[in-house]
Symmetry: C2
Subunit: 995 residues, 2 copies
């Protein structure tokens, strides 16, 4: 690196590059925006049918990214270069990579990776699919195919490329931080911006006045409404942006509660949607001024002539299909391979094409199907077509009726050719239609589009005028039968013989002479096509590198699987970081390395304690490996510095000291602050202690944990990485010298099933409080919407009780919770909550594999005590599976069925029994009733009932229940009622199949 790049030279070069590629060059917007997307040059112009190509700088303000100028590459203001290409030019990724070369990033010297990113911006009701683009582990660009903006589906789709200029400069200059890098001549970036960073961070985190900001938000919102009422789109949009920025500042001040956030987003989303709608209306009224004649929207197909070769080899040949895509998400790649493994053989069978082995493999950029010995054509065959019944096909003279003549004609036969056959239990006229087999190329050309279209993804996207949806854009198709192209067309592409090489080599076009050469050519071009092969290479490499520093790798299978699907040519390499960072909580370190960076962390041999190393897997070969390593090390250093900043700030206070600030965090308007919630949890925990049967010491731990429970929510580390809530609470509690059981309970509060009983107590209190409060506030989940995670909360109530096998009365626990809420929680609401929890309990039990009828039978009775219900379901399931169940159940059922319509409960008078059978039955009943039974136990009930069965059967055989004498009848009914009620508190067996 001889000459350092400067911040401004990158900007000037990008402007030149994109101007030369037909983009308008615009300017940053005049109000604070979180991203270039919010600039109307994107937000509005991507809407509607008009073409739009633009590039502009956007200094983007994200208050909560402020680090007082202390972090090497994180700032409340970072600078984006934003490019919009609409419609998709067909090669936007390649254009982007060229632009990187224009500013001096040689792909051979670096590791440029396209990492799945499902971009979503709820505040403007927008989403799209694409990637974060990583340069040596650093995200330098967001690349998105916008699917929806402002609630409007985009047609055509717009490509958004958002460069992070500071990070690019750091990478270009191989710098440790941005501050000392040149802005222009003589002056550094830090000299221009660092003091601002300090001041703005201080303002956003400490000074900004929450009351005033809320007023500002309201005024902006009102002004936006006023503009919309006048159909003033741009002024309205300006105020939406101001709302958004003000919300961000409030959020940074920690003033926005979880549920309040929803309300804010709802308002902003609504405004953004109306802005977008009004814009679209206006453009339509103006007849889309930018839709010039020269720019009719059409797909730019590949320049492959539609060569339909007429002669094919007549012998079976190999067939290869390669679907070339822009980088697929790891899981989509797996899914596509699985689907093809099923669908290809099925397709070939449906087409009557004989074939040898089928193999499917793939990398992020290609799905490859290889079929051995594919028949050159379909076999000839005869199909039977059923016609009218034989008796209606010929008249009395045996001549064909008009019906059979028509049928024959329709099938291209002479009526004389019709035959009569027995089928479907009758005699019918049939046409034997002979079909000559068609050449394989012909049928494949017809059916391959369907094969590709048949691959489905959880999330798919459109990108061009073909309207085709796929996980990511399709960019080329190779289809060869032997040496011949199968020129099928799909998504604006025509299949040919040209594949593409590795990204680091600039994706050269490579001709495949014939299907049999495919694997060899792919391999020679450095691409490892098989997923398992890539995994094995990575695992071996990681272990070897770990050993080189006397460590062991943490190699979670899901991480290995993901990394293997991020590269075409895996090249593991070792990176390190400063030992000082090891002082950070391990959870934080591992979470950063695994989750954010997809690195393999290393531990000391034996697994005790992290080493200051990691393994990263590059896509490519050895060239420039040192640069790649340095880049990755820079990234992880910055991330750890970031975490370090938060933890250090947090550790200036005890966890308990955070607690009062929970008062600034609104839980929900009607339900008060998070501090209010925490206080309710403390009281409720107190009430739950006896109900859960906690020991004295457990009770002490539970109370203390409840007191500290939500405090970490206002810690900086949790505000930054919400996923660490609880984890940081535990960590900070430990460091404060709290009892280990207290720290553990705090840590367990968000786990589905807390393992300790104090943890269980506080988790239940938290969840019951949310359920009671939010239902009472009218915020019960509706349809698919569950913004407050109440389904999860309900499952979090029942699942732990089942696993801990604690008998616990939900009804009275909920009553206690209800009494603590600041809003009335009526009996009716409590019933709703219980019903909701029962619904979740049912799902939990079903998920455990129990039969619905068994579950329903038990829940009809025991829904308030999940542990008991689960036990009963388990027991009943065993009974139901018994071979004698079919005799056992009817015995009981007869007793129930004959009595269940009686409104009166009859008292049994033993002296009034007439028949022996009834006397005997009464005697065995008294035996059964005397047995000791655990509450709710299905076993105990059935074990008591089984001995009664002979007597029951005899009774029904010999005794007429509905005797004429009223007293006799009622006495008998009373007897049966007592038998039926043996199941009280256990289950409603009438809900079982076979009852």
């Amino acid at each position: 690196m001889t000459q350092k790049s400067s911040f401004q030279s990158i900007i000037l070069e990008l402007q030149e590059f994109w101007a030369a590629h037909g983009c308008l060059i615009g300017q940053p917007y005049y109000t604070q925006v979180g991203a270039g997307t919010m600039n109307p040059a994107t937000f509005l112009r991507v809407l509607g049918p008009e073409p739009w190509n633009v590039g502009y700088v956007e200094p983007s303000i994200r208050p909560d990214d402020g680090r007082y100028g202390e972090n090497p590459n994180r700032f409340q203001q970072h600078t984006q270069f934003q490019v919009i290409l609409k419609p998709d030019p067909g090669n936007p990724v390649e254009l982007y990579l060229q632009s990187l070369e224009a500013i001096g990033i040689n792909p051979r010297q670096h590791d440029i990776r396209l990492v799945e990113d499902n971009w979503e911006q709820p505040a403007i009701s927008a989403w799209g699919l694409g990637w974060e683009i990583w340069l040596d582990g650093q995200e330098i660009t967001q690349f998105t195919y916008f699917q929806q903006v402002g609630g409007q589906s985009l047609d055509p789709v717009a490509v958004e490329i958002t460069y992070g200029l500071e990070r690019i400069l750091i990478a270009l200059n191989n710098a440790a931080a941005i501050w000392d890098e040149p802005w222009g001549t003589d002056v550094t970036y830090g000299e221009v911006r660092r003091h601002d960073e300090f001041e703005q961070s201080k303002y956003y985190f400490e000074t900004a006045d929450v009351t005033r900001l809320r007023q500002l938000y309201d005024l902006y919102k009102a002004e936006a409404e006023a503009c919309l009422a006048e159909r003033l789109v741009v002024p309205a949009h300006d105020y939406v942006l101001k709302c958004s920025h003000t919300f961000n500042v409030l959020d940074t001040r920690g003033a926005i509660g979880v549920t309040e956030r929803q309300a804010f987003f709802g308002q902003m989303r609504d405004l953004a949607r109306r802005v977008a709608e009004t814009w679209l209306e206006q453009r339509k009224e103006q007849e889309y001024p930018l839709l010039k004649e020269s720019q009719t929207l059409k797909v730019k197909g590949q320049a492959v002539p539609a060569n339909r070769p007429s002669t094919f080899d007549l012998r079976p040949a190999g067939f290869v299909l390669e679907i070339g895509v822009e980088e697929l998400p790891a899981s989509d790649l797996d899914s596509a391979i699985e689907q093809l493994k099923v669908n290809v053989p099925k397709l070939l069978d449906d087409l009557h094409l004989e074939h040898g082995a089928v193999s499917v493999s793939g990398t992020p950029r290609r799905l490859a199907v290889m079929v051995d010995s594919l028949a050159p054509r379909q076999p000839d065959r005869a199909d039977l077509v059923k016609g009218p019944p034989a008796e209606r096909a010929f008249d009395k003279n045996g001549k064909p009726t008009p019906a059979s003549i028509g049928f024959a004609r329709k099938n291209g036969l002479e009526p004389s050719a019709l035959e009569v056959r027995e089928m479907d239990g009758g005699k019918y006229v049939v046409a034997v239609v002979k079909q000559a087999g068609r050449p394989t190329p012909e049928v494949l050309t017809e059916s391959l589009p369907g094969l590709v279209a048949g691959i489905k993804f959880d999330k798919s996207m459109r990108w061009n005028a073909s309207g085709v949806a796929f996980s990511r854009p399709l960019r080329w198709l190779v289809a060869l039968l032997g040496a011949s192209v199968i020129p099928f067309e799909y998504a604006g592409l025509t299949a040919g013989r040209a594949t593409r090489g590795l990204r680091p080599y600039n994706s050269p076009e490579i001709e495949i002479p014939g299907a049999d050469k495919y694997f060899e050519i792919i391999r020679k071009n450095g691409i490892v096509l098989d997923v398992e092969a890539r995994k094995a290479l990575i695992e071996a490499g990681v272990r070897e590198l770990a050993a080189s520093v006397k460590g062991e790798a943490i190699l979670p299978p899901e991480l290995l699987a993901e990394v293997a699907n991020l590269v075409e040519k895996p090249m593991p390499l070792l990176g390190g970081f400063e030992k000082e960072f090891l002082a950070l909580p391990e959870d934080v370190l591992i979470s950063v390395m695994k989750k954010h960076q997809r690195y393999f962390p290393l531990t000391r041999a034996g697994g005790e304690g992290l080493l200051p190393y990691f393994v990263v897997v590059r896509n490519g070969d050895e060239q420039g490996l040192d640069l790649v390593r340095q880049g990755n090390e820079h990234v992880v250093r910055a991330r750890f510095a970031d975490a370090n900043f938060f933890v250090r700030e947090d550790l200036k206070h005890k966890l308990e000291d955070f607690r009062p600030r929970l008062g600034t965090l609104i839980f929900q308007k009607k339900l008060g602050s998070m501090l209010d919630k925490n206080e309710r949890i403390e009281k409720l925990t107190e009430a739950l202690v006896p109900m859960l049967g906690l020991e004295a010491d457990e009770a002490v731990f539970a109370r203390r944990a409840a007191h500290l429970l939500k405090a970490d929510l206002v810690s900086k580390m949790v505000i930054e990485m919400t996923s660490l809530q609880g984890v940081m609470g535990r960590e900070y509690a430990r460091r404060d010298g709290e009892a280990p059981a207290v720290a553990e309970a705090v840590g367990e509060q968000y786990q589905p099933v807390p393992q300790t009983r104090p943890g269980l107590a506080v988790a239940l209190a938290d969840r019951l409080d949310s359920l009671a409060g939010l239902f009472a506030a009218g915020l019960a989940p509706t349809g698919a919407k569950d913004p407050f995670g109440l389904r999860r909360a309900a499952i979090g109530v029942v699942q732990p009780l089942i696993e801990h096998e604690i008998n616990f009365d939900l009804r009275s626990a909920l009553k206690s919770a209800a009494a603590l809420e600041p809003v009335p929680v009526t009996d009716e609401v409590q019933a709703q909550v219980l019903e909701f929890i029962t619904g979740r309990l049912r799902v939990v039990l079903m998920d455990m594999g129990y039969r619905y009828d068994v579950v329903d039978a038990v829940l009809a009775v025991q829904s308030d005590t999940p542990a008991g219900a689960a036990r009963a379901v388990k027991q009943l399931t065993v009974w139901v599976a018994r071979p004698d169940w079919s005799t056992l159940l009817p015995g009981y059922a007869r007793c129930v069925r004959i009595t269940r319509d009686q409104k009166e409960k009859f008292t049994v008078k033993p002296e009034a029994f007439v028949e022996a059978a009834e006397k005997k039955l009464f005697a065995v009943l008294e035996e059964a009733e005397k047995r000791k039974r655990a509450p709710g136990s299905a076993d105990d009930f059935l074990n008591a009932f089984v001995p009664m069965i002979p007597a029951v059967n005899e009774f029904f055989d010999k005794v007429l229940v509905m005797a004429e004498a009223k007293s006799v009848k009622e006495n008998r009914l009373g007897l049966l009622q007592r038998i039926a009620s043996l199941a009280d508190g256990i289950a409603d067996l009438s809900k079982l199949e076979g009852f």
Copy 2:
């Protein structure tokens, strides 16, 4: 013009140009600003000693410039390219002109003019001197040497260059409007921005909610205060900017009253000052990080070696001094020439240098002094130096005392050489000091800096580290005596022989071989050095061009003088505009042409009615004249279109219909809206009608005029050009069919002296209302500050009364005004107002040339009736000038002096007189008292008194006033008191000199 320039190409080229010249390239700011100056990259960075060179685009938002996208080059958002050069590089104008060439503006093909501009931005307490730079009559750039920003003096001074990109694009493409010019490839500026212009204009003029905006302003202000309390400069500045933008929107909505504006500015100025101060403190604390060693501040002098030639011709020779400057303001050029005409001969005399004729001439870029036959050296001479008095210089023995010995030594003489001479009314020892004459080059080298420094201007500026102040920067010095350079140094320059040619020829360096060649060389280079010669050339050219379209030129002398001082080589050319514009009020057309554009308007021969032509004077020759004409025509078309827009909008309503909207315009918080004021004026006019003695029909006109009086303030045309207030009211009233006298009265309200009596009535009502109300609101002028123009208002009360000679009682008129105010106007306040008006009346009378004592004498008595006072002053002035005044005044004075200390008023008892002389005096007094006298008439009083003088003198000769008998004494005092009181209601003659 083969290839059209595009908006973005201009930006890219300017970025490249300034980056290549060492500037940082920055970005627009993230909050709405009215100009790039507000961006902290200017506002903060120009403060303090650190160097700073930057260029950036700034989309600038000026709500009241919104024209709904209908004006060809006026928009609420226009795009600036802002350059800051700090310190002054020595050639910023030349760099700027090079940058214009870089974007394709050839100075030979255009008329590039530097037009004086005293830039001031009160909201941020900033000012500087420089120019608007005009391209073919269009302002395309503001070029300013910042002197002060945020209330802080700048050291070093920063050069600010602000390009108006839209106007540059229009000029480059020779376009009629911006809308169809390319932004980039395929897309026009209008396609990108025109609809925005419509929407934002509508928002700013119609939709923005005044109540909410006021709340926003208050919140921003509070937040700025909070940031300042924490010393957070940039966040505080952000909120100041938001205040400023919000204020601008309120202003555009017409919601800001004249006096309220002051309060807003005061607040914003205060905030801006504190921001600037805090920034400076911080930079100091940080030890000025950008003050790197390589960048110590020094003046870059010219590359002229300090050649001090030792041999000069011994014969008298011509001397030339040329002071090369950046374009001087027209009036500064005149002033400098006048000063040099005085100072040069004086200097030469002081230096004892014999010389021939001195001539001084100049152009905007040079001041030229020519001296004929300047002596090659001073004559030898002897100076007398006065020593101690002779009697103390020598002892009894005639030997020199120590005092005279010391004196002799001090003057380099032997004591024996001292002489004794009579001087200053005594005998003194003197030293005759002989001085050998020094060579002229030597003394000039020493004294020329003082000559240049001695030129003073109303406003002067600094630009480099020399600290020298001048009207505009000095850039070269030529000083030649004969063929030799006088190498004096000043302002970082060293005088040489190199002058510079015309700007359109790129200011080539031209060597002057000798003083005698100077005029010839200047003339050959096309420069017309003499102001009168330029005027004559222009006048001839304008008349000729006027005749070519059968018209006559409007040639006001002040315009001719100004235009002559804007060019070095005048080239008049004819331009035209669409006849449709002639429908605009003539006042508007002429005002635009003369005042804004410095064009000479043309009328039909005979002077009746304007022609659709004008004459503009270009600086340069014939090349590219068509382009220059088209450019100027474009400008005037745009300006007229603008005026047309306003007038057309205004004419949609009757003038009376504007009246209710005055309610939105705050006059002053405590004094209500402009509507309130107008209503008070109506009532007060009603009260003034009888006081002014208006006829019945005049009263009707005055009432109607009062009703409509302020309505035009909310017309669009007046909001745009405040100077047309009243003028537009008259115009609109006429077009509405109001009586001509009504229209006239409305038009006259702002004139110092309304000519009609209805006009006088409403003007007085307006002015008295302001005085009474604003004094009562505590807003009386203090010191030099008179933000509400109350001095002017007071003069506007007295001057018209004097000219109309209307006897009018200010005291009771003010009482009427006071009674109408919404705040209490106490007697004390009324007295203050009267005293204030009296002060102005005194100034008015003094300015009329009257003696202060005469004025004071009359005002002591008649200050409440200005017309009477003026009449009395005039009369008294004549009396005072009479030869017999010195006998006349003492007669009266004796009567006054002897009685003025008497506290009691004695009644004269005629029967009690004793002496004949007193009886006689009483008799003449009774005669005098019987005379018919006009109230306040000094003539009548003195004519009555003069005949009494003999009796007065006799009385004092013969009668002892202070007789021993009390009754006699008191009777005599009573007589004199009655004589003294003859002057009651006329004047207090004791204030006269000689009394």
